[in-house]
């Protein structure tokens, strides 16, 4: 059931545009921390950043996969259904977007769709909520969109993800793209980004 006090974007058109634009900047400059302060009220179980990305990009054409904590929350499903019309899927391979509330419990990237060599765009975009993002920290990044090197701090950062991202990079042009949302901030790690070093 739809939570009574939840709302979609205050202005569905302009807020979707500004959220997308923030995401576009995040993708174009991987690892840069962009300010994201969406004007909406998600249900209690859904991080506001996840809600903003879903409302900006998902609709009836995109299957959405929810991680177990989100999938167990009926208010989340009702909220997404009402505001986006997106269908939910339990098969991560079918998902255009995966919404993840617990990054540590994220299934291996390989269980999502990585596209194929002819259509590498047919891949899953994983959007995960974290508690903090900083432009300094353990991850040193390089690749398209980055002038030299960039640092990114993600809290909490599950150590095994560093290796998974390296494997994901090796699949290029196939692969998943990772979006990290924190309260008021977003950063993206598209498949092109190499992690030079993780302390």
């Amino acid at each position: 059931m739809l939570a009574a006090d939840s709302t979609g974007f205050a202005d569905p058109v302009l807020d979707a545009q500004s959220t997308f634009r923030t995401l576009m900047d995040a993708f174009a400059r991987p690892g840069s921390v962009q300010r994201l302060a969406p004007r909406l009220v998600p249900p209690a179980g859904l991080a506001i950043g996840l809600a903003a990305v879903a409302l900006a990009l998902c609709d009836h054409e995109t299957a959405v996969w929810l991680d177990p904590p989100l999938a167990a929350d009926r208010e989340v499903a009702a909220y997404l259904a009402f505001h986006t019309g997106a269908g939910l899927t339990t098969d991560p391979r079918e998902a255009a977007f995966a919404l993840v509330s617990d990054l540590a419990a994220l299934p291996p990237f390989g269980s999502f769709s990585v596209g194929d060599d002819a259509y590498p765009d047919r891949s899953t975009t994983i959007v995960a909520a974290v508690s903090g993002l900083a432009e300094a920290g353990a991850l040193r990044l390089a690749g398209p969109g980055i002038d030299g090197e960039r640092q990114l701090g993600v809290a909490p950062w599950p150590a095994h993800l560093t290796g998974e991202l390296a494997e994901n990079r090796a699949l290029f042009p196939r692969g998943v793209d990772l979006v990290l949302v924190a309260p008021q901030a977003v950063a993206a790690l598209p498949r092109t980004t190499r992690i030079v070093e993780a302390r």
Binding site: D11, P12, V13, L14, A16, Q17, S18, F20, R21, L23, M24, D25, F27, A28, R29, A56, L57, C58, D59, E61, T62, A96, D116, D117, A118, Y119, P120, D121, S123, T125, G143, P144, G145, I146, D147, F172, P173, D177, P190, R191, T192
Partner: protein
């Protein structure tokens, strides 16, 4: 005075800066004469011609447009679809992402792809510049600028440095782009291999296998036939070491500007239904051979109006006795230089303030 005012009155290339030079508060209506104020609103059935340009009237608030279109013309579902394609395009530099291109209120070939990309990206705070072969004042550029001023109520400019989004047909501005700017290309044929292999199924496979031998054969045949690589525009590039990409029919002169540009470059092909991208600070290498390295066009003389060297020049025929002049293709660059006092050999007016 705003760009909109000037453009409505006289389509000269010397459009003043958005925001005005004299420090006037142009976000308000102070600069509009009472007569214009009366006319600008128009009626619901027949919007005022002035309503199309710049920050005239209340167009910045969505839904207040006299025509009743959604913000930036496209419906929200279409924008979401294009936005998803743009994110994929940035994540896979140089790969052509298929998208469900819509019919636009202009014919194919007039920039429907670029317009759709711009419409999906643009917000009310953006400042839009549109160029057509480097010029701000040709039909295509003026029409597209008006289109977004009308449907999105955005501010427009002719100054490269002031623009947050620059939509372009076949040129990259001479003024270096900066971090945070977005360059949107209008692309007729996105597939670099199309004239070598007409089947989409085959070109897709060649891209999947990164098999670009055909393209090298084509460039080699140029050398065999002409002694040098004769491709002068739409010169193929390799992006981020993987995909070979068409830079759209920009002169190859502009190819080096794409290499590690701080601006985000987006490409929209409406008829061919493809979107692709080059993120900032990304390697863009023009294909060549060790013994026939890539070279850009060189011009013997500087611009006849502003005296600039190392810029791309257009030939202007002056009479039927062989008279001609070569002037900057980038009208904003040329105007700015003349305003700064630079003079070419054929610049007529001593003030150097305007084009003849």
């Amino acid at each position: 005075m705003s760009a909109s005012d000037a453009e409505t009155k006289a389509p000269t290339p010397t459009l003043p800066r958005k925001g005005g030079g004299s420090g006037a508060a142009t976000d308000g209506d102070d600069w509009i004469s009472p007569v214009l104020k009366d006319n600008r609103a128009g009626t619901a059935e027949e919007p005022s011609p002035l309503a199309g340009e710049g920050r005239v009237g209340d167009l910045r608030s969505r839904g207040a447009t006299a025509t009743g279109y959604n913000f930036a013309y496209l419906d929200e579902q279409t924008k979401r679809m294009i936005r998803r394609a743009i994110l994929k395009a940035i994540a896979i530099p140089g790969y052509q992402v298929p998208f469900a291109s819509r019919e636009m209120p202009m014919p194919y070939g007039w920039g429907t792809g670029g317009v759709q990309v711009t419409a999906a990206v643009i917000g009310p705070d953006d400042v839009l510049k549109v160029i057509d072969q480097g010029s701000d004042d040709t039909t295509n550029a003026v029409s597209i600028r008006k289109f977004f001023a009308k449907t999105a109520g955005v501010a427009t400019t002719t100054k490269t440095a002031e623009a947050s989004i620059i939509q372009t047909r076949h040129r990259i501005p001479e003024t270096p782009l900066t971090e945070g700017q977005v360059l949107v290309f209008q692309v007729p044929i996105p597939e670099p291999l199309r004239y070598l292999e007409p089947r989409e199924t085959e070109t897709r496979r060649l891209h999947a296998l990164a098999d670009y031998g055909l393209m090298h054969v084509k460039l080699y045949e140029d050398i065999a036939r002409h002694g040098h690589i004769a491709t002068t525009y739409d010169y193929p590039v390799e992006v981020a070491g993987r995909y070979v990409m068409n830079p759209s029919p920009t002169p190859k002169f502009d190819n080096p500007k794409m290499h590690r540009s701080p601006a985000l470059q987006l490409f929209g092909a409406g008829r061919e239904k493809r979107i692709y991208a080059v993120p900032p600070h990304t390697d863009v290498v023009s294909l060549d051979f060790e013994d026939h390295p890539f070279e850009v066009q060189r011009f013997d003389k500087p611009c006849a109006l502003c005296g600039a060297n190392n810029v791309y020049l257009d030939e202007v025929v002056l009479d039927d006795r062989g008279g001609r002049m070569f002037v900057c293709s980038d009208s904003d660059f040329c105007t700015s230089r003349r305003e700064a006092g630079h003079r070419g050999e054929m610049a007529a007016d001593p003030a150097g303030a305007g084009r003849p």
